[in-house]
Amino acid sequence: MLRNALERFSWVAFLLWCLRIGVIALVVWGASATLLSGRYSASNWISLIVAGLAQGSVYALIALGYSLVYGILLMINFAHGEVFMAGCFTAYFAARALESSGYLAKHPLLTIGALLIVSMAVSTIVAVLLERLAYRPLRNAPRLVPLITAIGASFVLQYTFRGLYGSGFSAYPTFDILRGRWMVAGASIQIVQVVVFISALLLMAVLYWFVERTKTGKSMRAVSEDKEIAALMGIDVNRVILVTFAIGGLLAGAAGVLRGLYQPQGISAFMGFIPGLKAFTAAVLGGIGNIPGAMLGGIFLGVFESIGPNLVLEGLGIPGANQLRDAIAIVMLVFVLIFRPQGILGEKLSEEKA
């Protein structure tokens, strides 16, 4: 009997359980230590959460691109962060031109609209080109081949845009109408963060409507269920895939402008890598391939990243906790993939998809 039990004992499972308990204990311990010390007031937390919501909604927009493509092709479009960068960086030049011509000061809202159009157009073009040139020829290749291609494409895009637009860091112009702060329940909240959050929600609502209600959206869902059957039903699979990439590009472009609004600094050719990684985390967090999941995952990640360093890491007595903000997302990705690979909203993936 004992021998049987020993044969069935799995070190991996045991270690994973220890890890799970350890992580939860650390988080609880860190959070309670911080909260008990009373270092931060409730209004501090509210500001942090609102900032996290804005950041998270941008992640969510990018994450949707990962999720949509994954849902249909079961591939990680690793270069999606660069799609976001392309739009954001290009729109920066439009913003600067409009600023220097004085148009921005006169019609700020129209300017934002124009920037959105520029950014979304560029990102869409980049996304569609990627699909056509790099991914379509590899549609039936082994799974890792398109991933390697995507990594290569990601570097090509980064260094192409560095070559085109230069290697310096730039900053978006500021919009006076977005500058102020609101006082809510004693906490001061930046207007721009609220605006960004609401715009992102609107875009996501439009996307949801598109996927659920329109004919193209329905064919997208059909293709994601089964490509062959969808093709037999008369759906042009290649076109649907192209549309999917285009939608991912549109959302990433919009995310680029929103990012420029609430965080104007640090515009460069390399700005897409980390947000891309985080958006992927968000997509996995929510359940990759799942649209509401990506939205939820992005927002959750944004908020956790915003409060995490102060809440958990400081409580654990780690110095310079804010330096580790970027690491939080990655650690979270690892834990989600270990303990709940299907994500928050994902159902268990079938053998073939998993």
Binding site: V12, L15, I76, F93, V145, Q158, T160, L164, L277, L337
Partner: protein, 718 residues
């Protein structure tokens, strides 16, 4: 048909135009125009500019070929010479695209956005910069905007035409021309290196002056290179044969004792030189014996003996002890061995000549040497091995400091690539955070050995620390491996990428600053010693790296062909089935990570000792991507591919400093293009693509069809 060919030409031309404009606006043309290929005549920038038109013409012809020979067609039709007109069309369109770019540059200021749309690019496009004034005056159509634009179109057209014609040439001739052009470009690129390596007193100086001038090839050098390459490629297939023949003559005619004596003299001389270099002075003794007058082929025995006796009787100046004190004796011994060897070689050649003459006089064909095949093969293997080892040992001395530095970098990446090859190529786990293991290796070596009091404190020697470093990194491999065990391929890739980043964040953070030094890194890492020999400088480190490469290669090669390697292979091909066939996949995944990690750690440890100082910024994602890229370029899973890939992806860019800005662009492009065009890599892992591969399957399909039709027939009849 003609219409569709025309459309094709226009389309290809448009692609070519987009590609050229891309090269211009990304800045490649401008950056590379500072580098001469043929001094005063053509720069690398212009070469690239025109190469696109040439390639467009060539590819267009390839497409025409495909158009008139659809896949299912049995009889192949060759494209006709008149089809080159479509390549010319492609060239025209490419040229027109450039003209549009020139016009835009002339009329609008787009530089605010596109930083490389500079006046210099404008001048380069009009061919008014990057060439000598005499060349400018020789250019057709004279000066000015309109003339320049006309020139662009005409040049592109001609080059498109040439590209198309090239495709039509018979393959052997086409290959020698293309190799000739490639060789000119390569030699032109390597001009700086060649100057260091060749432009010193002796025979090499003459060679250098013959084909180089300024910072590129001279025009006569270019012609010589073209002709020589073409000649060599045509003669290429005879060369291995003549090599065998020479060896067979030597094995048959030279008495064994002479051969052994010569080989041992050569070995003694080579080893003494090595000892001299490593232990006595930082300079290599010259390749030929340093007797006065020998270089001018004025060999005189008396001179030499005089010099030798001087050396042997020289007063022992140095009192540093060890090898240094025996310097004069060693140098004398080298000279002695060399002289004896030269004498021996001369005598053997004389002997062989006499035998040859005798043979031809007797005209008895039967007496020509034909040693037993086995013996011959063994002799050939021995000679090749000997020459290979000698070449590997003496490269740093021959090429000089800077190229040795490049070789050291290549070697570090070869070791890393071999380790990554275990993880990715053998076990099939795509690890994008491989830099983490390199970093752990480097950091643990730094912490254990540094003499800087603020971190560490163990102050071990390199060799004392190395086993610890390997163990620490192996454990790190297990730690990274454990959480990702149950992840599928693409998730695993992203998570390992994340791990690589986390490692860097942690090294940078205040949290670990007391241990790892934060952004300032760790300084004062001591050099590596073996006995009295101090491995400083690239020429000496080279040997250390060489040994690590050989060990890593040996280990991976043996693992590949073993029970462990087969288990990894099964896991790579189908994890579930491997499990059902009795492979404990959990354990073998961990083992792969640990093995990969500990090989990388050696690379990292040498890296730390080489630099003496390490910063977190040296360990970014680009290292991982470079290591992965060299695997992909060489062929995933192929061991020689790792070496080839490292030379292509690390060696070449190191030699061409201007490239550094575009390095990652090239890596990325190489990865994409390899995956699209040649996923098996340059040197595919053996045995793929058997000729029989298709046959049995074809036959199978054929049988299936026959069986099906039979079944259908019987059904319908029944």
């Amino acid at each position: 048909m003609t219409n569709s060919k025309l459309k094709l030409g226009i389309r290809m031309g448009a692609y070519g135009g987009v590609a050229t404009i891309y090269l211009c606006l990304v800045g490649i043309i401008e950056t590379f125009s500072d580098r001469d290929i043929i001094t005063g005549i053509i720069s690398l920038g212009h070469t690239l500019l025109f190469l696109t038109a040439l390639v467009t013409g060539y590819l267009n012809m390839q497409q025409v070929d495909k158009l008139i020979n659809p896949a299912h067609q049995v009889v192949e039709k060759a494209p006709k010479p008149k089809d080159t007109i479509h390549s010319a069309v492609a060239g025209i369109i490419t040229g027109i695209s450039l003209v549009i770019l020139v016009l835009v540059l002339d009329r609008f200021n787009i530089r605010d956005m596109l930083v490389n749309a500079s006046p210099k690019l404008f001048e380069l496009l009009l061919l008014e910069k990057g060439v000598t004034p005499t060349m400018v005056s020789l250019l057709p159509f004279g000066q000015g905007l309109a003339a320049g634009m006309l020139r662009l179109v005409v040049f592109s057209t001609v080059l498109g035409l040439v590209g198309g014609t090239l495709y039509l040439l018979p393959p052997t001739r086409r290959r020698s021309i293309m190799l000739g052009i490639a060789m000119v470009v390569l030699l032109g690129l390597l001009s700086d290196l060649m100057r260091i390596a060749l432009n010193k007193p002796g025979w090499s100086e003459g060679f250098y002056k013959l084909i180089y001038t300024g910072r590129g090839l001279s025009s006569q050098g270019a012609v010589i290179t073209l002709v020589a390459t073409a000649a060599i490629t045509s003669a290429w297939r005879y060369i291995p044969d003549s090599y065998t023949r020479v060896i067979s003559v030597i094995t048959a005619w030279l008495p064994t004792w002479i051969r052994i004596t010569l080989a041992s003299l050569l070995s003694v001389s080579l080893l003494l030189r090595l000892a001299w270099f490593l232990g006595i002075e930082n300079v290599y003794p010259p390749i030929l014996p340093d007797c006065p007058g020998l270089i001018t082929s004025n060999i005189s025995l008396t001179n030499c003996t005089e010099w030798i006796s001087q050396g042997l009787s020289a007063p022992q100046e140095s009192t540093e002890g060890g090898l240094a004190s025996s310097a004069p004796a060693v140098s004398a011994a080298i000279t002695l061995a060399d002289s004896l060897m030269l004498l021996g070689i001369a005598a053997s050649i004389f002997l062989l000549l006499v035998r040859t003459v005798q043979m031809s006089m007797s005209s008895d064909i039967q007496k020509w040497p034909a040693p037993p095949l086995q013996k011959l093969e063994r002799a050939q293997r021995l000679v090749t091995l000997y020459l290979g080892v000698a070449a590997l040992l003496f490269i740093p001395g021959v090429v000089g400091v800077y190229p040795s530095e490049v070789l050291v970098m290549v070697g570090l990446y070869v070791v890393m690539g071999l380790g990554l090859n275990i993880v990715v190529g053998m076990a099939g786990l795509l690890d994008l955070g491989y830099v983490a293991f390199f970093a752990v290796g480097a950091y643990s070596m730094a912490v254990l050995t540094t003499v800087d009091a603020s971190v560490g404190g163990a102050q071990l020697s390199f060799w004392g620390a190395l086993p610890l470093v390997v163990v620490i990194t192996g454990i790190a491999g297990l730690l990274v491996g454990a959480p990702v065990l149950r992840m599928r391929g693409d998730y695993l890739a992203i998570v390992t990428l994340g791990f690589g980043e986390i490692a860097r964040f942690l090294a940078l953070s205040d949290w670990f600053k007391p241990a790892l030094g934060g952004a300032q890194g760790i300084i004062k890492i001591p050099d590596i010693h073996i006995g009295g020999v101090e491995f400083v400088g690239p020429q000496k480190l080279y040997y250390l790296i060489l040994v690590s490469c050989l060990i890593a290669y040996f280990i991976t090669a043996r693992l590949k062909d073993s029970r462990v390697g087969r288990a990894w292979g099964a896991m790579r091909e189908d994890e579930q089935v491997a499990d059902v066939m009795g492979v404990n996949t959990t354990a073998y995944k961990l083992l792969a990570f640990a093995m990969g990690a500990l090989i990388a750690s050696v690379s990292g440890a040498i890296f730390a000792a080489k630099l003496g100082t390490i910063y977190p910024h040296s360990f970014n994602v680009q290292v991982s991507i470079t290591a992965l890229g060299l695997l992909i370029v060489g062929g995933i899973g192929s061991l020689p591919g790792v070496v080839v890939g490292a030379f292509a992806l690390v060696g070449l860019p190191e030699l061409l400093r201007e490239f550094s800005e575009y390095r990652m662009l090239f890596y990325g492009a190489a990865m994409v293009i390899m995956m699209l065009v040649r996923p098996q890599g340059l040197l595919p892992s053996a045995r793929r693509g058997h000729k029989l591969q298709g046959n049995e399957r074809d036959q199978d399909d054929w049988m299936r069809i026959a069986a099906e039709s039979e079944a259908a027939g019987s059904e319908s009849s029944g």
